[in-house]
């Protein structure tokens, strides 16, 4: 039999804007998210939460709740059979309140009932009496009391160096919420043998699993965590929320239990972005060479640790930004308070300090009488340079100067008055006359590490197999919307030249951890694992059959098909299971020095804003960005990551802030916690710089976080340029602009 020898390229491989495999069910409404799951006979779970940020529980009586019709279970900490605490970095948070409430909304008891209304009635029937205590809500006071999760000390270079030009500033960033549209939700199903299956929206099923089995006091194999459809994450799903509670209720009742937080509860049910207060001093020579940076960073970790230690590390390691500087002093304090716990959110510490150092770079440029971009270019960090904080030599790509140069080359939008009120500050509220609008343009540059650092054993498992109908890629990596699922398909297609690739999300019993969908890591890690598995499998197949090419039809030798795909699948090998790691990192020494990171990415942003200086209203006209991405794997998906990340940065700049009143969140809803809408969202011009990473499939770098880092200070800089006001905190409030 003869076959055509013409090579048919796989159509949707690396570099194409391949379609998402879950796209059609998502537009038809058929895609099943965690909150859509139910099972025959399932109960509803609900949570009793503390209205006080700090209180001693003097009485907790569940009796009346148990008597509510339809109620199957009411559980407190006493009902937790195993370890009574959980936590991402350290188990310090009680599964249910341990007698002392440490933050507003802390879970005290959980119930399961036949429907939502019965569950809510049961919650209301629980009797709790509190001895309300004075909450510790001031981070400065917590610092004085040495209530800390981590202190960071970075000392690099000659500490006696002084610059001829010195600028100082104090900057603040607010507490931001990830606000994924999908609420915390899950379904737990007892397996009838003392174990449980949990279907849940999470960023990291295996780390949930670890915490669940510990709390349940069960062996690993009795609990299986399955990835459900996930409605966004942005860091909010890295910590356990309802996972343990659902499993407890399911095991206690012997019935499936569903739980879906409402939006107000969601604000209490996940961690937030750490608010920060930062003092900075930058010193430079008269010709604009940065010679010393001193920084004091104070971040509020809230009541429990979550990922606060790693966030503190990031804020400190990136406290100077992508600039050369040989004398650096950074002191960071991550304090413990009775404010809501803070943890992961896109950018993870690098966001806060970027607002500080970029505000300083503008202040320094003004003091020097220099163009802000020239100052940045003159100090830009290049490959071969050393990180100003850790001293780590940059051995991979880092096109800092290029992202700045190319950003500057993007033409500015026309400086014309808006024709439609949608484009004016205040929008269709018609508050602002076009004559009163002043325009400003601002720039910022940011840097962040990619993947996990400081010796964390960061790995991901992929099992890849060839079947008669295509390729299966098995992983436990969470697809939260970012498009990892598409990138995995593209990589497998490109290596194996087989078009049909199915990505199958295994539960925790079927495959090892993929690590977290965070730290911009999954494209490089799980994408890298798919590349490794596919390449190894292809090579062993070709070696086995003496072939020179593999595709969907089989193994080829010298343009002749020698083994059909069916035969290959009968005879094997058809499978490769890899555990894939990135190059090792080091712990920092006592001065914060060491090769603590694997890889870095830089991005630059330019914001154009229109401001009503009398009312203090801002309209963001456009954002331009140039981002270091290593290699573009899927242009359309990558632009989506960049634009979406920028909008969260714009949100932090001008509107998104959880308002705390002595530890109580006053705006835990979408009416008062403002998210950018279509009317607020500026168009974005995106340019990619492709300088391959030393570690990443086809040279790709993670791209999820850099858009959210320097977009915020760029907007603040633009507002400064428009108004002449100092703008030292984000989100910028009208009184910062009006100058009240």
């Amino acid at each position: 039999m003869t076959f055509t020898t013409e090579r048919r390229e796989t159509r949707s491989g690396v570099g194409t804007s391949a379609d998402r495999p879950d796209g059609i069910p998502k537009v038809t409404g058929d895609f099943a998210y965690a909150s859509d799951l139910s099972a025959r006979g399932s109960l509803w779970g609900a949570t009793l939460r503390s209205p006080h940020p700090h209180a001693r529980i003097t009485r907790l009586d569940i009796g009346p709740a148990l008597r509510v019709p339809g109620v199957s279970a009411v559980l407190t900490l006493d009902d937790v059979p195993g370890r009574k605490v959980f936590g991402l970095e350290e188990a310090d948070q009680p599964v249910l309140a341990d007698g002392l409430v440490r933050y507003w909304g802390e879970p005290i008891a959980i119930v399961a009932a036949s429907d939502v209304e019965d569950a809510n009635r049961a919650i209301a029937a629980i009797v709790v009496e509190y001895d309300v205590l004075e909450p510790l809500v001031d981070p400065e006071e917590a610092d004085r009391r040495n209530e800390t999760f981590r202190r960071m000390t970075i000392r690099r270079g000659d500490q006696t160096v002084r610059g001829e030009v010195v600028v100082e500033g104090v900057y603040e960033t607010g507490m931001q919420d990830q606000a994924p549209l999908g609420l915390e939700a899950g379904l737990a199903m007892p397996d009838g043998e003392g174990g449980v299956d949990l279907f849940v929206a999470t960023q990291w099923s295996h780390v949930d699993h670890e915490q669940i089995v510990a709390a349940l006091g069960l062996p690993d194999d009795r609990v299986r965590v399955h990835l459900s459809g996930i409605g966004g994450a942005f860091g909010a799903r890295e910590d356990v929320s309802l996972q343990i509670h659902l499993c407890l209720l399911a095991l206690h009742t012997g019935r499936p239990v569903r739980m879906v937080y409402n939006r107000a509860e969601s604000f209490a049910g996940h961690v937030h972005r750490h608010p920060s207060r930062m003092w900075y001093r930058h010193e430079a020579t008269r010709d604009g060479r940065l010679v010393r940076v001193t920084a004091r960073l104070l971040l509020d970790g809230g009541a429990y640790m979550s990922s606060s230690r790693a966030v503190m590390a990031n804020a400190s390691y990136f406290a100077v930004g992508p600039y050369r500087c040989d004398s650096v002093e950074v002191d960071g304090a991550m304090v413990r308070t009775n404010n809501p716990p803070c943890g992961a959110m896109r950018g993870f510490g690098a966001v806060q300090s970027c607002f500080g150092y970029e505000s300083q770079m503008d202040r320094l440029a003004a003091a020097l009488g220099m163009d802000p971009l020239e100052l940045r270019l003159g100090n830009a960090l290049h490959p071969g340079d050393h990180m100003p904080t850790t001293g780590q030599q940059i051995t991979g790509s880092l096109p800092t100067a290029e992202v700045i140069e190319r950003l500057r080359a993007i033409p500015l939008p026309p400086d014309v008055a808006a024709s439609h009120p949608l484009h004016l500050p205040g929008g269709t509220g018609l508050t602002t006359s076009p004559d009163h609008v002043v325009r400003g343009v601002g720039y910022a540059v940011g840097i962040k590490n990619l993947m996990f650092s400081e010796t964390f054993d960061d790995y991901t498992e992929v099992r890849l197999l060839i079947t008669p109908v295509g390729v299966e890629v098995h992983t436990a990596a969470a697809e939260v919307g970012q498009g990892l699922v598409t990138v995995c398909q593209q990589i497998a297609r490109t290596v194996l030249d087989i078009e049909h690739v199915a990505v199958i999300f295994d539960d925790t019993s079927q495959i090892g951890s993929a690590g977290s969908t965070s730290a911009s890591r999954q494209t490089q890690m799980t994408g890298g694992a798919v590349l490794a598995a596919a390449t190894e499998l292809r090579d062993v197949i070709l070696a086995e059959y003496g072939g020179d090419r593999l595709d969907g039809r089989g193994v080829w030798r010298q343009a002749e098909l020698t083994v059909t795909i069916d035969e290959l699948c009968r005879r094997g090998p058809t499978e490769r299971h890899v555990r894939f790691r990135h190059p090792p990192t080091e712990k920092p020494d006592e001065n914060g020095q060491g090769n603590v990171h694997v890889d870095f990415a830089v991005a630059a942003h330019r914001a154009v804003v229109d401001v009503d200086p009398e009312l203090g209203l801002v309209h963001v006209v456009r954002i331009d960005t140039v981002q270091d991405v290593g290699k573009v794997l899927n242009p359309r998906a990558l632009v989506g990551q960049v634009e979406g990340g920028i909008m969260q940065g714009v949100g932090l700049a001008v509107m998104e802030r959880l308002v705390l009143d002595r530890g109580v969140v006053r705006n835990a809803n979408f009416t008062d916690y403002l998210l950018p809408t279509f009317a607020d969202a500026p168009p974005v011009v995106t340019v990619f710089v492709e300088e391959p990473s030393h570690f990443g499939p086809f040279g790709a770098k993670g791209a999820g976080e850099p858009p959210t880092i320097s977009s915020t200070p760029a907007v603040a800089a633009a507002i400064r340029a428009a108004t002449g006001r100092p703008i030292t905190r984000v989100p910028v409030r009208p009184d910062d602009i009006v100058g009240l």
Binding site: S17, D19, R20, D22, G23, I24, K26, V27, T28, G29, D30, F31, A32, Y33, S35, D36, E117, A179, P180, L181, G182, L183, G229, I230, G231, G232, A233, F234, V260, N262, R263, H420, L422, T428, V480, G481, Q482, G483, R636, A637, V639, G640, E643, G644, G645, I646, M647, Q648, N669, F670, T671, L675, P676, T677, F678, A679, A681, P683, V684
Partner: protein, 157 residues
Amino acid sequence: MRITVTVNGIDHAVDVRGAESLLYLLREELALPGSKNACEQGECGSCSVVLDGDVVCACLVMAADVNGSTVRTVEGYADHEVLHPVQAALLDGGGVQCGFCTPGFVVAAAELFDANPVPSTDQIREALAGNVCRCTGYGAIMRGLEELAARNVGGGA
């Protein structure tokens, strides 16, 4: 109370309780979970449906109030395997990431395009300002819908 309601062309007679929303009725009683429960206070548009010709947030409508009404949900836009042009446009533009907001955008955008097949950029922006998306930053949604509007101009829709 017992109500009758026509959803995506199918008549239903269902018992609803006083406090039940149309969203709850759709998701929990009629097995139509496509309309999403993201804020349940009318701010995000994820539960947008067409009720007797108007786009509404199903979370803000009492189930008891839809007696005798006609409702179209996101599940009612694709014709078997053929997507509604707005659904295809959202995919083509890259306007779907996590997808939780997508049902609301499909409904709101489909109603916009049915009323005006060639909306301007500002008309799209204004019509969809009640639908929050946290993933895309709206750019990809806009590009998909602008493309659709441009095709409608060309095709004389």
